[in-house]
């Protein structure tokens, strides 16, 4: 039923090209900052671009992170961020360099916020995101002057900033400052940066296509919410629009957080890319990649090439994830090492009574009444 609306959505996308850009801009302005639709760029919204040829040799850098959140009921209070990364020189035939960088945080300054509360998990996730980008910037130091693409297994927008209302603002600002700083380092080193989202659920381009169909005077919250394309994703749309290897036009990310990125010179853009196995990836890039044809082309061609053997998702990111992931066995081992260390310092590390009770109860047979 929904799929039946796809041709209509495609026509709406094509219709954007018949609109006067000023008139579309007026509708976007009227839709307001909270409207989540994509903003167009100079590229026609329904265009499709073949991948450019790849340089004979280029660097592919990928980083991913995982974390152990603090557990009030565990024997020791800590959190851990583990970053896995891979530096592959495409065309060299050599095995890539791999790195795993765990960081353990246990000092009171790491664990408690300015009001004495335990650090929220969202802040830890934000620190992980910044650490992933930091690792890419570190790897890119060795590739300056050569074609390089740094990949993240996520969008480029720091979602933590959207949750700022619930979080201590100073800590969020510090993470955002660090994150944008790493983007600047990567830009200054001449590397392309891309955040890759597999199976994206976004509908920002569909929202834009719908907005294009509304007369300016009827653009309001009610009409925007009454889109006939609700439930359809950009992925479904571009699955029809793109042939294997092609990318869509570049759009500007509509998130309010993008204002912070824009102010720092890293406004987030995105496009969709069809890779092996008809996978449609969403690729998020900063404005300085979007506006540089050589860097933009490298993101498309290198992500496409690296995804050929892994069913459409980049190999380098799959490996970075594998290097980053913390298994249950490793987690248990770490907890027991920490408990040992505490005991050596004369501090008994016992799980809370609640955690201990849960452990006793899980092994027990239930008595029937």
């Amino acid at each position: 039923m929904l799929a039946g609306k796809l041709p209509q959505l495609e026509a709406a996308l094509a219709g954007l090209e018949t609109l006067d850009p000023q008139s579309l801009a007026a509708r976007i302005a009227k839709a307001g900052d909270r409207w989540p639709g994509a903003r167009p760029t100079a590229e026609p919204a329904n265009s499709a671009f073949d991948p450019p040829p790849l340089p004979p040799s280029y660097h592919l850098l990928a980083a991913d992170g995982s974390q152990i959140h603090p557990d009030r009921h565990a024997g020791a209070l800590f959190y851990l961020i583990n970053i896995g990364s891979l530096h592959l020189v495409a065309g060299s035939g050599a095995a890539p360099q791999t790195h795993t960088r765990p960081a353990l945080f246990h000092e009171p300054a790491d664990l408690y916020d300015e009001f004495g509360g335990l650090i929220p998990n969202e802040l830890i996730d934000g620190r992980r995101d910044a650490a992933e980008l930091g690792e890419l910037a570190r790897l890119a130091q060795a590739t300056a002057g050569e074609p390089s693409l740094a990949l993240l297994d996520n969008g480029l927008i720091l979602w933590l900033v959207l949750q700022v209302r619930d979080q201590p603002k100073r800590a969020v600002d510090e993470i955002l400052r660090r994150y944008l700083g790493h983007l600047r380092e990567l830009r200054d080193l001449g590397a392309a940066v891309a955040g890759v989202i597999d199976r994206p659920r976004h509908a920002n381009v569909a929202s834009l296509a719908h907005l294009g169909e509304l007369p300016l005077e009827s653009v309001d919250d009610a009409s925007l919410k009454a889109s006939p394309y609700l439930g359809l994703t950009d992925r479904a749309l571009f699955d029809r629009q793109l042939a294997h290897g092609q990318r869509s036009a570049v759009f500007i990310h509509g998130s309010p957080v993008n204002r912070d990125f824009d102010k720092a010179g890293h406004q987030v853009h995105f496009y969709y890319l069809k890779t092996a196995g008809d996978t449609v990836l969403r690729v998020e890039i900063p404005v300085w990649v979007a506006n540089n044809p050589r860097l933009l082309g490298l993101t498309q061609a290198a992500i496409l090439a690296d995804s050929a053997a892994t069913d459409g998702f980049p190999y380098a990111l799959a490996r970075a994830h594998e290097l980053a992931v913390i298994g249950q066995a490793e987690r248990t081992q770490l907890e027991s090492m920490l408990a040992d260390a505490l005991l050596r310092h004369g501090l008994p590390a016992r799980p809370s009574t609640k955690a201990a009770a849960k452990r006793w109860l899980t092994g027990r047979r239930r008595h029937r009444v």
Binding site: L86, L88, V89, A90, S92, G93, A94, A95, P96, T98, A276, A305, D306, A308, A309, T310, D311, Y315, A318, R319, E322
Partner: protein
């Protein structure tokens, strides 16, 4: 003494009859079928002598995906072979043990412990251990193994560890020892001698 020897892996599981070791690629010294190795037991008081009879490389979902895919790059293959933590597992049959400077040709009193280091047996020890052929019955009687091929590979390896002038005499002596042990199975003996022959006939 053992620190200078090439480490080929660590024990992951074991019994008195043998042990299984694992190593990560790319170790410079890959174990080979029919090679002798030793693993520490009894807190270093003895070394179990093992004969490698199987080498297996485990796979996983990711390796299977890459193996069956088109467009795999040379770097991705090199990554799998050099970086991914897929252990090579090798199995060794216990064929004797050493206490001090003396080799014993029977099962050890205790097996090695988990993660005990496994070293390749250096050529001088291979010659020393195979000076007596009393370990042959342990190989011939081992069930569920390609024992004839294993024995031939072990004897050829022991011959190669000797000076060239002594190799033929060693293999002829080993062939005679096998004949005495396999008098009731001439077909098997014939196969074994065939397997040793190319080495025997080498000038």
């Amino acid at each position: 003494m053992t620190q200078d020897l090439p480490l080929i892996g660590r024990v992951t599981r074991c019994s008195l009859r043998g042990f299984v070791g694992a190593l990560r690629l790319p170790e410079p010294d890959m174990p080979a079928f029919g090679a002798l190795c030793s693993a520490e037991a009894q807190q270093g008081a003895s070394q179990v002598i093992g004969l490698i009879y199987d080498i297996a490389i485990q796979d996983d979902e990711f390796a299977r995906q890459i193996a069956s895919a088109e467009g795999v790059s040379a770097e991705q293959i090199a990554d799998h072979q050099a970086n991914r933590q897929i252990p090579i597992e090798f199995s060794a049959l216990a064929v004797g043990y050493r206490q001090g400077a003396t080799f014993h040709y029977s099962l050890p009193a205790q097996p090695p412990l988990s993660l005990a280091p496994i070293y390749a047996l250096p050529a001088t020890d291979v010659v020393g251990f195979t000076r007596q052929l009393s370990f042959l019955p342990l190989i011939l009687s081992a069930g569920g193994l390609p024992s004839d091929e294993l024995l031939a590979a072990a004897l050829q390896g022991a011959a190669r560890a000797r000076p060239e002038a002594e190799r033929r005499a060693f293999l002829v002596e080993a062939g005679r020892a096998c004949s005495r042990l396999l008098t009731d199975d001439l077909g098997r003996l014939d196969n074994l001698l065939q397997a040793l022959r190319p080495q025997v006939s080498r000038p």
